[in-house]
């Protein structure tokens, strides 16, 4: 369309359709003014810089019109944020989390808050005070947790993307069980301001999407420095848009074979092997790596995370927000109010972890448990650092088994915890990790393939992920009941 013929409706369609940028349109008209107003004198003031800046703002909305679901542990101003807990029933934060502001600035549309295990503590979303979420691939099975709602929403086509949180695997594990992509960024890559803290040194926010390119697009918006979060990296994130199509020629992938020896479902192992073979066919070099301290990752995690949680959850005391127990009689004082509020407001799993964590930090036990666990944590990190001298990514299954039935492990916390064996290392070490769909079991349940990368090297994970996704026979699979 010739510029002279531009109409309001024509420009709107062209900009929305991506044929023209707002800057191009703006620059055209500013140039025309410059060329003609000497003769006409129609303008008293021309806002050249301000107009171009505003046009740039309009252009910089990479998620314009994209609906996103947000896990209910992330603050959304004026909108209930419950953390899946009764203790925050009806709580409406007076502010948006940084990630929410960024999504909104990028033009995204928040369609709702998703269900999760209470305060992100759990691997099945069965610990939500509002009832479990179901797996779209089999409604009698768990979707995983704690970001079960976020994963199920994407898998069932309720939103093209969601953001979840991952402290011990809570993005990657539900992504694996629901057959979608789930990315936990490097610790510090995404601001935690506005995330209801579970374990401060482990929590990270990340995207759940159908494709790897989508995960990159959402991460690009979420990531970056934030003066409100002292643990967020001050380095700007790299441009993730140029990674695709992903090329893995010469990329070295390490597998900790010893860790896979026990307790992994045979179908999961087969799918894992098949995915490695596909990457190998595309030019990746697969080898073994040794991560001798990974066997301690689960016990270390279940000391460090509850310890930090016991402190982070102290603020839920009924004084300023959330549930406050009704007391009978003037005799009851603050201590009783605290005890009743928290007894009524917290579920069993949260109470379990608060008690574990308090114990691990208490006088006489602090050195033996918390400090000791933190020391082993650095040994686990040293293992990965050594591995990354030889490989670009470490590969493992995301979970040892596909989705189990709702209710199957609810009475066996330890069995539940042991399912985190492949995911917790990435949180303890702060390294980025991604779960990729890797096919379905005979029973048509999804299996996840996981990659762990160098610090701040989400790009490599996305690149490899994209290579796996391209032409993968399972990439078009959808849950039959929600296709």
């Amino acid at each position: 369309m010739a510029p002279g013929a531009w109409t309001v409706t024509g420009i709107r369609a062209a900009v929305a359709g991506g044929d023209l940028s707002a800057r191009e349109v703006c620059a055209h008209y500013l140039d025309r003014i410059a060329a003609t107003d000497g003769r006409l004198h129609a303008f008293t003031t021309v806002l050249r810089e301000a107009a171009l800046a505003r046009a740039d703002e309009v252009d910089a909305r990479p998620l314009l019109g994209v609906p996103i679901a947000v896990k209910d542990v992330i603050c959304t101003r004026g909108v209930p944020t419950t953390a899946g807990s009764r203790i925050l029933a009806g709580y409406r934060p007076p502010y948006d989390a940084t990630v929410v502001s960024r999504l909104l600035d990028a033009g995204a549309v928040i369609v709702g808050k998703t269900n999760c295990d209470e305060f992100a503590m759990g691997s099945s979303t069965e610990h939500s005070a509002y009832g479990p979420t179901r797996n779209p691939w089999a409604l009698d099975r768990i979707p995983g947790g704690s970001s079960g709602g976020a994963a199920a929403a994407v898998a069932a086509g309720q939103a093209p993307a969601s953001i979840g949180t991952d402290t011990g695997g809570s993005i990657r594990q539900p992504a694996a069980l629901c057959g979608v992509v789930g990315l936990k960024p490097t610790y510090g890559r995404v601001s935690r301001y506005g995330l209801l803290a579970f374990a401060s040194s482990l929590d990270q926010i990340g995207p759940l999407t159908w494709t790897v390119a989508d995960a990159a697009a959402v991460l690009q918006v979420l990531a970056g420095p934030d003066p409100r979060d002292a643990t967020a990296s001050t380095e700007p994130p790299p441009d993730l848009s140029r990674l695709f199509p992903g090329n893995v020629r010469g990329t070295r992938i390490g597998v900790p074979r010893v860790a896979l020896a026990d307790g992994v479902d045979p179908e999961v192992l087969d799918a894992f092997g098949a995915a490695l073979a596909m990457l190998s066919d595309r030019g990746a070099e697969v080898c073994d790596v040794d991560l001798p301290h990974m066997q301690y990752a689960v016990p270390v995690y279940y000391l460090v995370a509850p310890a930090e949680a016991s402190s982070n959850l102290a603020r839920y005391d009924g004084v300023r927000y959330g549930h406050r127990a009704k007391l009978d009689g003037a005799a009851a004082g603050v201590s009783e109010m605290y005890a009743r509020t928290r007894s009524e407001g917290f579920g069993a799993e949260v109470k379990r972890r608060i008690m574990l964590g308090t114990y691990a930090l208490s006088a006489g036990y602090y050195d033996a448990y918390y400090v000791h666990a933190q020391r082993v944590r650095s040994l686990i990190r040293n293992d990965f650092d050594r591995a990354f001298a030889a490989v670009d990514a470490v590969a493992m299954p995301t979970t040892p088994t596909p989705a189990f039935r709702i209710g199957e492990r609810i009475d066996d916390p330890l069995a539940m915890y042991l399912g985190d064996v492949f995911t917790v290392s990435a949180n303890l070490t702060g390294l980025p990790a991604i779960s990729l769909p890797a096919g379905l079991t005979q029973a048509r349940l999804p299996i996840g393939f996981q990659l762990v990368g160098r610090p701040f090297d989400e790009a490599t994970l996305l690149r490899i992920g994209d290579a796996l996704e391209r032409d993968a026979p399972w990439s078009d699979e959808r849950p039959p009941a929600f296709a």
Binding site: S200, S201, A230, T231, E308, S311, A314, Y338, Y366
Partner: protein, 397 residues
């Protein structure tokens, strides 16, 4: 039996920064309506995170340097966990084992009545933490919480138990107060709660090396109260022992109206604070270069300034201490001397009896202090300076 008193002081100093310790809220809360100096961070709302106030760290390092402390290269914050309605997060961000400053001292004149002369009182550590809100239990089934003070930067100076009497405690406190005020890191006003003192007191037979059981004395809201409370507590402990009893380790509050300390045993169940490093804040490295830069900012403190006034101007100790008493007073006085030295004609006029000379010089002082000095004070200082000039014949040393 002769007893020796052992006193250690913990002083909490509110720092005079523009913002709170871990958020951008204004730190000047005294005159504000309740709950108007708040944000998600100092309210302890779900999802909020702390960010370190750089100036508060610098003020604490400066204070440590002024107290002759060592500034370690690495320092960090820790969480002190306990539940109370005035503690928003259920933990206070403080410092446990790697404080900002360690192993310093202050020199006091000593309690001459005990035959003790000038010596050093050890400063164990200086660390940084956040203040808590205020909690007002109204009885009748309700209490009120004001969050304004929550998060205001608080510097804690912990002395070694080196003081031997209430008089020595008074000297230490006065000197510490003067230092923080001279540095400009705090207004140091006890009545406003900017400068709070808790004392640890015990007694032991003279010559014994073992410390007696100590009590913690709180709620002393003026220097005079500190002096009286310590005097009282020492006598109380001696009477307990001489009656055949033993001093109970407990917290006691000073009751101003009755001039006694009273056991606050309800606060006494020993808290396990479950200290652990604050995961939301990275540790800090303060390198020797930065420490040197800060050390260069240290002013001359009251004792040194007073000594200089005495030596150079032959002022009496009393007068010199008065003039050096506050940094602004000392500065104005020196400005006055500069104005006088620069205007020999005005001095000559004054000496020959012309009144207007003093007013003229006052104007000069106002100009030199850019209108900061109060006119009446400036006039008084001018008159003192002129008298000094007259009697000594010169202001040169």
């Amino acid at each position: 039996m002769q007893y020796e008193t052992v006193i250690g002081l913990e002083v909490h100093v509110q720092l005079h920064t523009r913002s709170k310790m871990f958020c951008g809220c204004p730190a000047d809360y005294q005159a504000a309506e309740p709950n108007t100096r708040t944000c998600p961070v100092c309210l302890g709302l779900p999802g909020a995170l702390p960010v370190i106030n750089r100036r508060a760290v610098e003020y604490t390092v400066l204070t440590g340097l002024a107290l002759n402390c060592r500034i370690p290269e690495f320092t960090k914050f820790d969480r002190k966990n306990y539940p109370y309605p005035d503690l928003m997060k259920g933990y206070q961000i403080s410092q446990y084992d790697l404080p900002l400053a360690l192993d310093g001292f202050l020199e006091i004149d000593g309690d001459t009545q005990l035959g003790l002369g000038r010596r050093r009182i050890g400063v164990e550590r200086v660390h940084l933490e956040e203040d808590v809100g205020s909690y007002d239990d109204r009885g009748e089934g309700y209490s009120l919480v004001d969050v304004n003070r929550s998060g205001v930067p608080l510097m804690e100076v912990v002395s070694k138990p080196d003081m031997r009497s209430a008089e020595e405690a008074r000297q230490y406190l006065t000197l510490l107060h003067s230092i923080v005020q001279y540095l400009g890191v705090s207004t140091g006003n006890m009545q406003d709660g900017n400068f709070r003192c808790d004392a640890n007191v015990s007694i032991r037979p003279v010559g014994s090396q073992i410390l007696g059981t100590r009590t913690e004395v709180k709620n002393m809201n003026s220097f005079r109260a500190v002096y009286q409370a310590l005097e009282y507590e020492v006598v109380r402990q001696r009477e307990v022992i001489e009656d055949g009893g033993a001093v109970v380790q407990e917290t006691r509050g000073w009751i101003e109206e009755r001039e006694v300390t009273v056991s606050q045993r309800s606060k006494e169940y020993a808290h396990d604070y479950r200290y652990f490093p604050e995961p939301d804040l990275p540790p800090l490295r303060i390198g020797p270069e930065r420490v040197a830069e800060l050390a260069a900012e240290l002013p001359e403190f009251a004792p040194q300034r007073s000594a200089r006034f005495q030596a150079d101007l032959a002022l009496s100790g009393y007068d010199a201490d008065l003039l050096a008493g506050s940094r602004s007073m000392a500065n104005y006085f020196e400005t006055t001397l500069t104005a006088i030295a620069a205007n020999p004609k005005a001095v000559a006029d004054y000496i020959s009896g012309k009144d207007t000379a003093a007013r003229f010089l006052m104007g000069q002082v106002m100009r030199l202090t850019k209108g900061q000095a109060q006119p009446e004070l400036a006039l008084r200082l001018v008159q003192e300076g002129l008298e000094l000039q007259k009697t000594r014949g010169s202001l040169e040393p």
